[in-house]
């Protein structure tokens, strides 16, 4: 994996963020999903905390299994999303790298990533007896429609009212615009960074971007976050200009679809490096880059509604298939990897068919590996690596 100079800055940022979250007396805490419109919270000085990001952190630190087992011991089924199980376990045992998350004062949940989060947040709402606000962003079977935009915009107005009541303060539009500005700035730098993956050789590996995703997920809407991505962008841009590749002798260029396997990040990075295979683009990290695409300063609500609806896994298969094919083309890929994640049904169901169709469209080989982002019990090194080796051979053949 690539160690960027900016990485120490990110660690600092994230540490500061979690320290503030754990110690703040003034700011109310909202637990939020990764696709929730946090701009409203930052405007109202409510601090957003992301259980998904925390679960990912537990997974990467090889702490998720013990937390998952704690959740299962009180009856949570091994069938449910392992982010949720990790979160429940961390909450009960105060385990994991930061001894659990600070208790929430409210919950904000958006359905643009899945409907599973509603169930997850219902459990939390009951445990803590705090209000839950849901921004319902329905699945876009047929693309973005006027009705979907109006539906979402109307809920944003209601969210604003809810937060006004919750904090006892009025909604400051100037502050909102400022937060939006930071949010867009960060998203735009993030997008520019990801686009640098088109460079041959790629200056980063998708495994790196999984790590550097943390601030855009957690701190989007703050100046610190925007500043951080500017620095990271400049560093990677210079590497790209100098043609410094993230792995020596890049031979294959692939895409990664679905969540990372957090507890195997390093092992897989080494595996791919050994095979001269660079992961240069990931649908998962791309999801946070589109925020600026629809922004219209005259109509910020509508722009946000479009952005929060237009999430990759909130879209129909035709869109997803065409999108994968376009990435294969734009990033000059030699193949694509689909992670069939046992925990994430919305990301994984239909994947077998998508693989067939994408190969038919692009002529590039694809592989599906079976895994999970946080539950190591359903993952096998041997099986996965054998499959990946065969895939790499098939890329060799199709060269």
């Amino acid at each position: 994996m690539t160690e960027f100079q900016a990485a120490s800055k990110m660690r600092e940022l994230m540490t500061e963020y979690y320290i503030e979250a754990k110690t703040t007396k003034e700011k109310p805490i909202a637990w939020v999903t990764s696709g929730a419109p946090v701009e409203f919270l930052y405007t109202m000085d409510v601090l957003p905390i992301y259980p998904e990001n925390h679960s990912a952190m537990c997974g990467a630190a090889h702490k998720s299994l013990e937390l998952i087992e704690a959740a299962e011991a009180v009856g949570f089924s091994p069938d449910i999303c392992s982010y949720a199980r990790t979160d429940f376990g961390a909450d009960m045992t105060k385990g994991g790298p930061i001894q659990g998350l600070p208790a929430p004062d409210m919950l904000l949940c958006s359905t643009n990533i899945c409907k599973t989060v509603i169930k997850w947040y219902e459990v939390v709402a009951r445990n803590y007896n705090v209000p839950l606000f849901i921004v319902d962003t329905p699945f876009m079977h047929d693309g973005l429609t006027r009705d979907l935009i109006d539906y979402t915009t109307t809920q944003f107005k209601n969210l604003e009212e809810f937060l006004t009541g919750f904090t006892g303060r009025s909604f400051d539009l100037d502050r909102f615009e400022e937060v939006l500005k930071f949010s867009l700035e960060a998203a735009n730098y993030w997008k520019k960074i990801l686009q640098l993956g088109k460079t041959k050789p790629s200056p980063f590996n998708s495994q790196d971007t999984f790590i550097h995703l943390a601030p855009i997920v957690t701190l989007r809407g703050t100046q610190k976050c925007a500043d951080y991505y500017k620095i990271l962008y400049e560093e990677i841009r210079d590497l790209a200009a100098k043609k410094v590749g993230s792995i020596p002798k890049e031979k294959y260029r692939t895409l990664w679809d679905n969540l990372p396997i957090w507890f195997k990040l390093r092992r897989l990075a080494e595996f791919f490096e050994d095979k001269k295979c660079a992961l240069v683009v990931a649908t998962y990290t791309n999801s946070w880059g589109g925020l600026g695409d629809d922004y219209d300063p005259k109509n910020p609500y509508e722009g946000l509604a479009k952005a929060y609806l237009s999430v990759y896994i909130n879209s129909g298969f035709e869109h997803r298939i065409n999108y994968l094919a376009s990435l294969i083309d734009e990033y000059s890929l030699t193949g694509f990897i689909l992670h069939s994640d046992r925990s994430c049904k919305p990301y994984s169901i239909g994947m077998y068919r998508m693989q067939e169709e994408v190969t038919r469209l692009t002529g590039k080989p694809g592989v599906i590996i079976e895994g999970d982002m946080c539950d190591p019990r359903v993952y096998s090194d041997a099986q996965t690596e054998t499959r990946l080796e065969a895939f790499i051979e098939s890329m060799e053949d199709s060269e």
Binding site: G75, F76, I80, K119, W120, N158, I349
Partner: protein
Amino acid sequence: MFEPFYEVVFNVSKNITENKTALGRPVIGVMPAFFPMELIDAAGGYPVQLWGNNLSLGKSDAYLQAFSCSVARSVLELELIEGARMVEGYAFTSICDTLINLRELYRRLFPKPTVELSIPITRTDEARRIYLKSVIASVISGLEDITGTKVTSESLTKASSLHARTRELQRQLYYIRAEKSGLIKNYDFYVTIKAGFFLPRSVYNQMLEDLLEKLDKLPQPKGKRTKIVLSGMVFDPIEIYKIFDDLNIDIVDDDFANGWRTVSKGPLEVADIVEGVTSYVFNPAPCCCLYNPDNDRHPYLVDKAKKAGAEGVLFWYIKFCEPDAFDRPQLIQRLKDEGIPASFFDVELSMTNFDAIKTRIDAFSEMIKG
């Protein structure tokens, strides 16, 4: 008494084909859950409910991972083995991630048209109205395209009363079961409800009326029996009821999505269809798939168990059904706090060996007998 219902449940495809010919209407497959079938009837279609089936799975493995629920896998299997040839289109709802994506898979794999009732779960009334209005309009026009018949306010009113009548008759059956515990074998009861998934309303309503008339005259059998309540999404495989019957355990009420959660629904109000559909979907029984804090499952289930005089509640869990799985631990705890024993067992629709389930039911029954 129950033979006509058995005949349907064990010859589903033959029955649907015959009825389709007799009616001259296109068959629309209705996926779980809560799609108002009144709309299909009003558009001149013949709705048939697909709550999964007991096929052994083979072809569907090429498209759905083993971690998808067996409801989704088995309906796909049916289509892939061409067992659903008589179905001309599908009606979906958006109750879970699996079904939402299953619809997408159907659109890639099969030429049959699909419609989806995308259910808004917002707490913002105005937003819900805006969205649902457009969803209903597109569902109706999608159905009209399949059937070639326009929905009119007369056809809606007529369909609404036909379906309301079915549920009213089914409720009477539920009441008899509760009042004369032991009179209807568990197995017979669920065969009777299940037959309704496949029959045209007019045919099924007549069968239910005949049955109710006979049951009315019969007294409650004597003897001490164990009473329980079941909760889950889908009440299949029905083989399991034979285990309850053998152990003299009476299911006196249920909280199944394809049982009481559907049967309890009042008439679909058609005068204001947006409000009508909202009320239809969210009332009166709560469901794990429909976020609705105004109608909380916790007090609801406690109350249901108490009213039924049940000695315990068993959760009938279709493997990999996340909406159901998330609710269960807290619900079981709540029931236990109220002094109501509760437990669960795992089910796959394709299963053929019920030994493990029998062991769990045995153990539960021993526990509640104390």
